[in-house]
Amino acid sequence: MATRTRARRKARADAAQRRDPRAPIVELRGATVIYPGGHIGLERVSLDIHRGEFMFLVGPTGCGKSTFIKSLIREVEPAEGEVVIAGSDIAKLPEKRIPYLRRRIGTVFQDFKLLPNRNVYDNVAYALQVIGASRSEIRQMVPETLRLVGLSTKIHNYPDELSGGEQQRVSIARAFVNHPPLLLADEPTGNLDPVTSIGIMQLLYRINRTGTTVVVVTHDREMVDKMRRRVVRLDEGRIVSDEAAGMYADEESTNEFAVRMRSEMGVGEGHTNGEGHE
């Protein structure tokens, strides 16, 4: 029994060694996700995300951004193609190993998903408790992470006593507290005002600089334009563009957008703004 365990451990160590350290942390190979009912979530998506990268995933509502996130934590499984994380095809993971995959991936959501009857400290500690961390680890890592997200003074507050931005910081702290190599943020600033959003994005960037790969799904055009990071755009489940230091969309000023909207809606021409023309 003991020898078999040792042999298995050795095999796993060998496999880890064979892995190229510069290999992408996430590889999608022609991944297609079809929901029951025939709706296509992702269609033949192939994509590499490298270690330490900061990537935006943008696109209109229903384009498959959330499906992309879900397929990385095996919440949905691709009908075709494969999702490879840190060198292993996650479709081949036995059911029992999925929790261990999720421990290596932090996730942040638009609605924070905080536990309302626990304070900030306990919310973050909960993530460590349920993966069986020791008490001393919890006591060391939780305050450290709360300091990183800038909430050291609010550890005894409950979520409903915090602003939206602070709640999102708690949720980021919870996702990052066991230092996963990959952090996924699904519309982290979707519920926040622009100023607060900048703070959240700066925090994600700071986390990225510790070596963590960060993938941010967003609608926030200004933020994407300002950060000048890799932008992958999805539409109807397909990748339509992938730029190393991209902008949210083709250059289009607010005025141009307004003109296009009006012409599409059949409103009078030449009205570039509400006041009209002289």
Binding site: P99, Y100, R102, K113, P116, V130
Partner: protein
């Protein structure tokens, strides 16, 4: 160790938050375990008594209480000459009293009797073969014109076949047994349902916790344990209350009675401690099963 603490803490937190359904489940378990605790000794006692009677293969001929020993003894030879009779034993009034005293293990019984010895003299008629019991019986009390058995001598009040006695006891106790068993079975199902319902509500109340646990990579069993413990705590608490009530009943009612009445002190029933162990195990099994069923159905992990 810290894990067990975490599970317990989560389970108790959930119980406190959903007190109403938990109390409903606990009360049902208390009632179920109480009934079960009464049912087990009752079943054992009746079983024992029925078998005891059935094992005595003989026909008893009872005189009237007023009949004298001489009158009945006179019948002895007539009976002994009947076909299939192997031997006949005469039991005088005094002997009958002695046997009763022995059986009840109480010497004072004679003093308490108001007017002397009320027991009738009797004959124990042993058949040559167990199959001939019925034939002897009909010879001793042939059917009269109305078809009812009529004893062959006016001195005799009754002719009793031990099998008939056994079947009478069995008929009465059988009915009690069936009713008690049916009620217990229904209550077991009700407890199962109520525990399942408690756990289901708990899963619903803690769906955010479950969602977060899945997201941060808690294993399936780590997610399930607090719910199972919650069910077990409900079962254990219910069983504890019921055992306490049973113990109170034993100390205040059954024990004093059994000092005076031999029938209550059923000798061949289960001891109290093994009974308690069985009851607690049953309650735990029911609540674990209830939690398990609900977790399978409603906790998609």
């Amino acid at each position: 160790m810290s894990r067990v603490g975490f599970f317990l803490q989560e389970a108790l937190r959930a119980l406190r938050r959903s007190a109403a359904p938990s109390i409903a489940a606990i009360v049902t378990i208390v009632v179920t375990v109480l009934l079960l605790g009464v049912l087990v000794p009752v079943l054992q006692t009746t079983q024992g008594k029925t078998e005891e009677v059935r094992d005595q293969l003989l026909v008893k001929v009872f005189g009237y209480p007023e009949s004298t020993d001489q009158e009945v003894r006179a019948l002895r030879d007539r009976v002994a000459k009947m076909p299939h009779v192997e031997r006949v034993e005469f039991v005088s009034k005094a002997e009958a009293l002695k046997i009763l005293r022995q059986r009840l293990d109480d010497d004072s019984i004679t003093e308490e009797l108001p007017s002397g010895n009320p027991l009738p003299p009797a004959l124990n008629v042993y058949p040559d073969d167990a199959d001939n019991l019925e034939a002897i019986r009909s010879d001793l009390a042939p059917p009269n014109s109305k078809g009812k058995p009529q004893p062959f001598s006016p001195v005799i009040e009754d002719v009793v076949d031990s099998r008939e006695q056994a079947s009478q006891i069995r008929a009465v106790t059988g009915a009690i047994k069936i009713v008690l068993t049916a009620i217990t079975a229904l209550l077991l199902i009700a407890s199962l349902g109520l525990v399942a319902n408690t756990i289901r509500l708990s899963i619903y109340a803690r769906r955010r916790e479950v969602e977060v646990m899945r997201l941060v990579g808690a294993t399936n069993w780590f997610i399930r344990w607090p719910f199972i413990i919650e069910g077990l705590v409900v079962g254990l608490f219910g069983a504890g209350c019921a055992v306490f009530i049973l113990w109170l009943g034993k100390v205040t009612i059954v024990d004093p009675l059994s000092d005076r009445f031999a029938l209550v002190a059923a000798q061949n029933t289960i001891e109290f401690l093994p009974l308690v162990a069985i009851l607690i195990a049953a309650a735990m099994a029911v609540s674990a099963l209830g939690s398990g069923i609900t977790l399978r159905r409603f906790l998609q992990v």
